[in-house]
């Protein structure tokens, strides 16, 4: 197990380095002079010089790159132009908001996705299966920002049950948190439920064909126990691997969904950085998110290897 973890850690190092190169390179894609774009048409030459100096744009390429990596080594992702504070600080401040909604959404996704998938597999080809799979397919086809707006029309404008947006921290007011976090979490979850339900369904069908299920049935175990004790555990193994994918989609979805619901999380931070051309924030934010996801995927892989020892011996799978 230890060897597997070390091997996976070593494998992720080149990827991390490349991720940082891509994050650095994105800023170099800006056509023309980024200082002019940041300063806007009214900026004086002195102001432009100031921006160039602050961002190090007046330095040669290799110096800029050197500075970037020296900053990274110190945990410095640059300074947000918009907020006037370090990118890392601005991002970390907003983690609790995004994380609480992501976890809420994750719980909804896991609950709905796994139950839809299991029901669909157990009642294969019945109306329940068809309905679950249709729901799954429609879920992956809906644009999340639009779904969010539809929920606002229904639950805020027409029914008046929930506020149209905003965010109340959990520790201040749990009910307020629940009221503000529910629509964003549901919006993010509905798109994932489909993916998870389809994977759960096909895995369950696969598992139900295995010999150990036949054995369990043959020894007279009630069907409920066969499913809950023998099948379900084995269904969960591939589901764990999808959690990384789901989290990744949750994170990218949060940029628009947080903007739609005016939730002050990492997503809306990046969204507003994009609109106001806050390049250091975009660069640092992307790097932060990608690194966090890489770490999460590493954790998922390790968990997977822990739960399924076969993975450790056959790293190709």
């Amino acid at each position: 197990m230890g060897r597997y973890v070390v091997a996976r850690l070593i494998q992720s190092i080149p990827v991390l380095i490349l991720v940082s190169v891509i994050s650095f390179g994105i800023m170099k894609l800006v056509p023309g002079d980024p200082a002019v774009l940041i300063g806007g048409p009214t900026a004086t030459p002195a102001e432009l010089d100031n921006i160039r100096q602050n961002l190090g744009l007046d330095q040669p390429f290799h110096v800029q790159m050197g500075r970037f990596y020296a900053g990274l080594a110190r945990g410095d992702l640059g300074r947000s132009l918009l907020l006037g504070k370090p990118v890392l600080e601005a991002t970390i401040e907003r983690i609790p908001v995004s994380l609480s909604i992501a976890l809420y959404s994750m719980v909804l996704t896991l609950f709905l996705g796994i139950s839809c998938g299991v029901i669909a597999a157990l009642k294969r080809n019945s109306w329940a299966d068809q309905a679950a799979m249709a729901f799954a397919l429609i879920g992956v086809s809906l644009p999340n920002f639009w779904l969010g707006l539809m929920l606002i029309i229904l639950f805020s404008v027409h029914l008046g049950w929930l506020p149209t947006g905003g965010y109340v921290p959990w520790q201040n007011d749990p009910v307020g948190w629940f009221r503000t976090a529910t629509m964003p979490a549901v919006t993010l979850a509905l798109l994932q439920v489909g993916l998870l339900a389809r994977i759960t369904r096909s895995t369950m069908l696969e598992v139900l064909r295995q010999d150990y299920i036949r054995t369990a049935r043959a020894k007279g175990l009630p069907e409920f126990l066969v499913i809950a004790k023998h099948a379900f555990k084995n269904v969960m193994i591939p589901v764990i691997t999808v959690i990384g994918v789901i989290f990744s989609v949750l994170l990218s979805g949060s940029v628009v969904v947080e903007s739609v619901f005016s939730v002050p999380g990492i997503g809306s931070l990046l969204g507003s950085a994009v609109l106001r051309r806050d390049y250091p924030m975009i660069q640092g934010g992307l790097l932060f998110v990608a690194t966090a996801l890489l770490m999460l995927n590493l954790l998922v892989d390790v968990l997977y290897a822990y739960f399924d020892p076969r993975v450790r011996y056959d790293s190709r799978s």
Partner: protein
């Protein structure tokens, strides 16, 4: 298999020359999901192709007198805050969305195949190319597209480039996986033994046998691209207004969600229909062309 091959009640397909030549066509037409997807997507495609003809008036013609008209017999899909015809705007939006989606598919087909084939066939390149794709795939797709589009500046061209850059590594992976399997097959070994050049082996023997998963993948890429382009233009990173795209119509309509919900609802429905149609088409193609791929990767 969800495909009901000989189920009664499905349209009987005549044995004409076309079906003899491409028996796969018959199987596709018997696949319920594929047919529904084809109808949905076909409808949107027709709207996009004949937008000039369908749209009653110029999508950018402002008519303040007709502001916020709900859908009725004169304004089929209503009007927006500037009195512009929603029908015209949504129809022209379809054209742009599909054009960008198609551009992304073409770029994916070209570069995804080149990179995937190179990685799968020339083992020395594999490690480097796959680490690069790993790094690109470490970023959530839409987020990286947002970053690239933000850097390049908003336009439909940059949206297409950003989305291609995001999805090409995913396509390359699929091609690589198929090439890895096919290159070990006996007919490829035979071609090598006969002294065929690498280019010939790849072009004539390996790649034609990797087409099925590629076609399936490209259909899904089309769906993702249309969806992500809407996200980009919703965030102000696609074609600049007043050029209508589904994403920017929704973004503009958002402010009037209380008094004129149709501005937001209708383009979203068109978008959902397109993506659903493409997903169904992809599911059908996958079931028929490559049943091994039943659990597709997201």
């Amino acid at each position: 298999m969800t495909a009901a091959v000989d189920a009664p009640g499905l349209p009987a397909v005549a044995k004409t020359g076309l079906f003899k030549r491409w028996p796969i066509l018959r199987r596709l037409l018997r696949h319920k999901a594929f047919v529904i997807g084809a109808v949905l997507f076909g409808f949107i495609l027709l709207v996009a192709l004949f937008a000039d003809w369908i749209a009653p008036i110029d999508p950018n013609r402002i008519s303040i007198r007709n502001r916020f008209k709900p859908p009725d017999l004169t304004h089929w899909l209503g009007t927006d805050n500037l009195g512009r015809s929603q029908l015209s705007r949504v129809a022209y939006g379809a054209r742009l969305s599909l054009a960008i989606g198609f551009a992304v598919v073409v770029l994916n087909a070209v570069f995804g195949v080149i990179l995937g084939a190179a990685a799968g066939y020339f083992r020395r390149l594999d490690n480097i190319l796959m680490r690069i794709t790993d790094a690109l795939m470490a970023f959530p797709a839409v987020l990286l597209a947002i970053g690239i589009a933000a850097a390049l500046g908003p336009s439909s061209m940059t949206a297409a480039i950003a989305l291609s850059a995001v999805y090409i590594p995913r396509t390359a992976r699929i091609v690589r996986a198929s090439v890895l399997v096919v290159r070990e097959m006996e007919f490829v070994q035979a071609a090598i033994a006969m002294g065929a050049s690498h280019l010939r082996i790849l072009g004539k023997h390996v790649l034609p046998n990797c087409l099925a998963p590629l076609i399936v993948q490209l259909t899904f890429i089309f769906a993702y691209a249309v969806l992500s382009e809407a996200v980009l233009s919703f965030l102000g990173l696609g074609a600049a207004p007043p050029t209508p795209t589904w994403g920017n119509i929704i973004a503009e309509g958002r402010q009037y969600i209380r008094e004129a919900a149709w501005i937001t609802v209708i383009p979203g429905m068109a978008l959902a229909a397109t993506v659903l149609g493409l997903n169904l088409l992809g599911d059908g193609l996958r079931d028929v062309l490559d049943p091994r791929l039943k659990i597709s990767q997201a």
